[in-house]
Symmetry: C2
């Protein structure tokens, strides 16, 4: 998905999502994966008050008046979708969230982002901010997997994909497909990281994680330049072999599609990654016992 500018309305954005939904349906897709925070610009790059952020960028209901057409069209066409957006709960709790919608337009699952990157302070020397830790709470539930659309589908968001724990918790719930949206700035505000590495990390992490967890992975970028702030593209669909089987070639709105053979994952689950035979949780305790790194055990 191409950029969303500050001046774009949610109505403008939903029209673009509808266009892609229809194209995907024309290509016989069952499920469309839209990006993280798909309805607005990637606003965590701007410093503002919580109140201003929530008033301008958060959804208080889903579907809401502007997003209802997406649900209606999905139901009419008989196609499911994943959508990322900023959620403000009735109790006033803010989350970076995603939903999974089935072919009847019903929400079957919700996920609230766990690995929030960035910071919560105003970095005056940075070219822009990355304020996810300011605007969002950490997700209140672990990673989930839902039986829908003929598959077991897990959800995560953006930075979650870099953490192997994310994938493993879904694989241990028998996920066959993992879907995620992301917004990844091309510039690293902390050090002059070469831009090509940002894409490399995105791709190599998805490929290894799909392989190690025997899942199909579909990752959808919002990308290109939002009011002068460029984000990497590289939306991909990765097979359980770790191979990229479809990749976006533009930084605009673009539909990529595969007909995923779910049994390809079974081949790996039965042999090299037969978890029940090969995993050794008795030696993994440190993964839950420590948060940050510590001294060697001996």
């Amino acid at each position: 998905m191409g950029p969303v500018q500050l001046a774009d309305t949610r109505r403008d954005v939903v029209l673009r999502l509808l266009e892609m939904l229809r194209e995907a349906h024309g290509r016989k897709a069952d499920l469309v994966v839209f990006p993280e925070l798909a309805l607005t610009t990637f606003f965590p790059r701007y410093w503002m008050s919580q109140e201003e952020a929530q008033a301008r960028y958060f959804e208080t209901g889903m579907p809401g008046p502007d997003t209802q057409p997406l649900f209606d069209e999905a139901c009419k066409l008989g196609i499911g979708f994943y959508l990322g957006y900023a959620e403000l709960t009735p109790g006033g709790q803010p989350y970076n969230a995603s939903i999974l919608v089935d072919k009847t337009g019903g929400i079957v699952g919700k996920y609230r982002k766990i690995h929030l990157p960035g910071h919560d302070d105003h970095k005056l020397d940075a070219p822009f901010q990355h304020l996810e830790k300011k605007y969002f709470n950490v997700g209140d539930k672990t990673f989930g997997v839902w039986d829908t659309l003929g598959a077991r589908i897990g959800m995560c968001l953006c930075n979650d994909r870099r953490w192997p724990e994310t994938w493993r918790v879904m694989a241990l719930q028998s996920a066959e497909v993992v879907v995620l949206g992301y917004n990844t700035p091309s510039l690293n505000i902390h050090w002059p990281e070469p831009v090509h590495l940002r894409m490399h990390h995105h791709l190599v992490t998805l490929q290894a994680s799909a392989y190690q967890n025997c899942v199909w992975a579909a990752a959808a970028a919002k990308c290109g330049s939002e009011n002068g702030h460029h984000m990497i593209g590289g939306s991909v669909i990765v097979a359980p072999t770790g191979e990229i089987v479809a990749q976006a070639s533009t930084e605009g709105d673009e539909v990529i599609m595969v007909n995923a053979d779910l049994s390809l994952g079974d081949t790996f689950r039965k042999h090299v990654f037969d978890f029940a035979r090969h995993r050794r949780p008795e030696h993994y305790a440190l993964i839950v016992d420590r948060i940050g790194p510590g001294e060697p055990l001996r």
Copy 2:
């Protein structure tokens, strides 16, 4: 390292290891990584009794008479090494083990393989066996990290590298370098997996794991054809950027070398992978609570 044939003696093999040790020293290396089960052929491909395997292929002491020259030369040159071998303890317990030896020729760390691949039954229809589960016990200690040779160095072996838990447990002990040896058959005995995928899985997993854990990784193959059984090569050194910075280009004895800047890992540890700020172990419980995959949590 090229193949070891059934007819080769340990003395023959140690002469080859000494040659590579000297070449590495000439290139100013501090540490040399030798393969898994480096002293013999990859014997888990053959069905035999435990007694026969132990008599032919296991070391009852380290150093032993045949390996002593390696320790002596390392001490004389002032160079450390990692070596994989089949260990039979004084109590008669068999392990697929590795040791880390410092510049004085002293053993500073030992690791016993945790993720044993393959099977323990005789697969009569298979072109060869993969009997690690027959000949070895599962390692009795978790992954370790040792402060030696100017770095914090973790060890694992072969199939361990495919499991993200392996790397994480070492990163949580502040590993800066991970070293490992492997023997990976080119043929998958369970299904007709394309050979190029075997190499792809090896490389993509190392690259993602080095990046996700902010470590330098050095992986040494024993490769080429052992009595008609071909194994993939692809020995590599991977930077914490996830980039391959050195790769073997032959299937014979070959030394590859890098001068690793350990501070490159710090850059990632301080920002995107600042574990203390970003990890959420409260959502990782399933990783230790389940062995195999189960039902979705909700």
